[in-house]
Amino acid sequence: MSKTASSTVPATVPLEEQLEWQRAMLEIRFFEEECHRMFARGLVRGSTHLAAGQEAVNVGACRALRPTDLMACTYRGHAAVLAKGAPLDRCFGEILGKAEGLCRGKGGSMHLTDMSVGAIGSFAIIGAHLPIVLGTAYAEVYRGSDGVSLCFFGDGSTNIGAFHESLNLAAIWKLPVVFVCENNLYGEFSPIAHTTPVDELVVRADAYGMPGVRIDGMDIGVVHTTVSEAVARARAGEGPTFIEAMTYRYKGHSRADPGAYRPEGELERWLERDPLILHERALLAQGVEQTVLDEMRATAERTVADALERAMSWADPAPETRLEDVYA
């Protein structure tokens, strides 16, 4: 892992767009750092699952989609929902359980949803959303439109039944779905080798007659290129693709987990290939000034801090709202 490694962005992606990727990843990183602090201060109920380290997968994939395409993700979903375009302040608001939160304070950290930007849900039952994107994808086919549904899920999901039912149906119906496995090497606290008899999860795509590809999920250029190809296939009516993106979560499984089961030095090796660093090097290599990048970082940090401040100022949900939204 060279210290000079950088992300590999194809020449077809304009520099302006590449800069926007970096801005989005920075905001997500600062967002997750704020969440970590919020938990430490006891501002958040239940649990949380931070995606710091996985930003390139979420941003790279979501930037390969149109705003009208749909995205479903896991309970480690802050990054994906933000990448799809949900506002920072209302995401904070939801995690803080505020009335102005994305879900009026009824979902919380594990269930961020913003239908208005096509973020159809964050799902906390492992694998539960894979069957659901079958339906959103079939709705596109049904209407004769060329929309695509993208589904993020963890390595652990590939051992649950819903995964297999979903890949099978998606393939047999040739549905416009892109399955993106965020393989961060651990299902909760268990290394994948302890739970899964194959070294590469991508081989499971073969069982469903579906193209599969394993990629470097720390390299936003590779993620974007690969997902773009899969999206093009899906739009063209050629069916689903399985992408295994190798990545790493810097924090433990949840806030209660310090990640002590990880071998010494593993985190450090992954940090050397941090997606923000790799992409910053790519931008520098294309002639972007360091001062521009520093300014971008400072602006992102301030934007996130301002969003949190707004969210903290919002009211708690009114008591009577607990009875609303059960039925139409």
Binding site: N168, I172, A328
Partner: protein, 326 residues
Amino acid sequence: MSRTITYREAVVEALADAMEEDETVFLFGEDVAEAGGPFKLSEGLLERFGPRRVRDTPISEQAIVGTAIGASLSGLRPVAEIMFADFAAVCFDGIVNELAKYRYMTGGQVDVPATIRLGNGAGAGFAAQHSQSVENWFLNVPGLKIAVPGTPADAYGLLRAAIRDPDPVLVFEHKHLFNHKGEVADTPEVVELGRAEVVRAGSDVTLVATQLMRHRALEAAELLAGEGVSVEVIDPRTLVPLDLETIGASLDRTNRLVIAQECSHDGSWGATLVSRLMADRFEMLDAPPLIVGGDETPIPYAGGLEELWIPSVERIADGVRRTLAF
């Protein structure tokens, strides 16, 4: 003008009329298309509406329910078939954790107008895993609506209402009634969810029953009429929403309540009904409410044993007699 059709024909007709009325309605499930349905509940629909709107699926109940959820999020009105209601156990997560809670957990961002049809009930010798009254499993899950049609008119009318409804509705179609014949209007009516039907007026006791039990309750009422007892038979038709007003008003006149249900007691709709009515109308009762239900066992296979498990006309009538004698 009215005509006589079977429960099965009513389901097929409701599906066809719903698809005719609304381009966003489509049907899918195991063997619903080319085979016309394992119980022939979708016969002719593939030929009429084509494979885009009438689709076979693999034997994958989780995928079926997930497809219904996703399609409804995207503004379609999917109708999914779960062949035997008992298979709901295989896709319980989709129904209970996703479908039922989607609207609430997103703070009302989206409607989920999915209809799930499930083949329900005992009486045909399918044994314990293919005969249960599965509606009871979902009573404690806010967010779902539950329809339990017992006649061809209700099979038609409730299914039409379910498909039009903006919320998820589970429609339990009773397997032992598929050949049951009944009257429907020439243009059958949509039946509003949450409206009980007073099937037979009476003054001595209120007898509440659904599906197969509704018919046995009517027979019991006929039998008891010969003994000079006037039984009011009420079919709630939907368990969520539950029409407590109609049932309660009846109880206010008869002061006696008997429920006939095709399931054991604990966690059942009958037990729920008793507790709701007792809370509001304790002083109206002249006798303890009585539930005539299945034994506290899985449903047996052998014909004689299964028939003993399911409440018979005589057992229901006896329950009424005991309540009157209190």
